[in-house]
């Protein structure tokens, strides 16, 4: 599971450099995410623009990431492709997680607000 992490205030931005987060890769995704975020304190922006598909196991892994971030840090998403967006919409997870059109639009929004 290839994840790229960098810091763009106020976020730790993590880009998933894989085409799918599914039953075969969900556990690796969860473990790799945990090791990237556990030493940090920033809110996390997960850039999914390279991910073509996610299934219910992948969705469960995203929830697991929110669980270990706890109530003090948020997970926001950016760059959902159509099939990924469909899964978030159909499961109503789009009402629970903040979703940005792209990584850039998330960062611009923060810049405008400050």
């Amino acid at each position: 599971m290839q994840l790229l992490s960098d810091f763009q205030s106020p976020y730790q931005v993590i880009t998933v450099d894989e085409t799918r987060i599914d039953a075969a890769t969900a556990v690796q995704f969860k473990d790799a995410m945990r090791s990237l975020v556990e030493q940090e304190t920033a809110n996390v922006l997960l850039d999914l623009s390279r991910v073509d598909s996610i299934d219910s196991s992948g969705l469960g892994a995203v929830v697991a990431v929110m669980k270990f971030l706890g109530s003090g840090r948020t997970l926001e998403l950016a760059g959902l492709r159509p099939k990924v967006q469909a899964v978030f919409r159909l499961t109503r997870m789009d009402h629970v997680i903040r979703i940005h059109e792209s990584r850039d639009s998330a960062l611009e929004q923060v810049a405008r607000a400050s």
Binding site: V63, S71, H95
Partner: protein, 164 residues
């Protein structure tokens, strides 16, 4: 394209599926699941099918097949999944057989969506697969037949919006 237009291709069924019924047998594994979905998608004419419907088909099939791999067979090797795909009016009918364990209590669980009343870190990690299947499939039926599981459902292939 109006539905009538599809009738002019000589087929008696207005389906973008290019073949008669097909039967696919794959090993119960992540690779088997991917290969079955790829083989079914190659039989569908993408130009005649709304993109949302293709996503719905892929999402629902992946959830159904992974559910069998994970729960019916419990990742046990040597399991097989048989998939019968039949063109129907504006869609596909699926009948899927496996030789794994029955569904809990002999019935299909309901599954659930995210709960907007709960905080993000309080959401459940599971249960979304069956909810997705129920959202996307029509006429979903499960039967235990002897030592086998039989799941049948239909997927629409020409609606404008899969959430209708």
């Amino acid at each position: 394209m109006p539905p009538e237009a599809r009738l002019q291709n000589g087929s008696s069924v207005a389906s973008p599926f290019s073949e008669e019924a097909i039967e696919i047998v794959v090993p119960a594994s992540a690779e088997g699941t991917r290969s079955a979905i790829a083989r079914i998608l190659t039989r569908i004419e993408p130009a005649e099918t709304a993109a949302d419907d293709l996503y719905a088909l892929e999402i629902a099939l992946a959830e159904v097949l992974n559910n069998i791999v994970e729960h019916a067979y419990g990742y046990e090797e040597n399991g097989q999944i048989e998939i019968l795909v039949e063109p129907i009016d504006r869609g596909l009918a699926f009948t899927i057989w496996d030789d794994g364990e029955p569904m809990p209590a002999g019935r299909l669980p309901l599954g659930h969506a995210a709960d907007p009343k709960l905080a993000p870190h309080e959401q459940s990690e599971g249960g979304y697969g069956l909810f997705l299947i129920r959202q996307l499939a029509r006429k979903l039926r499960y039967h235990r037949v002897g030592d086998r599981n039989r799941l049948s459902f239909r997927i629409a292939l020409d609606a404008d919006d899969m959430t209708d």
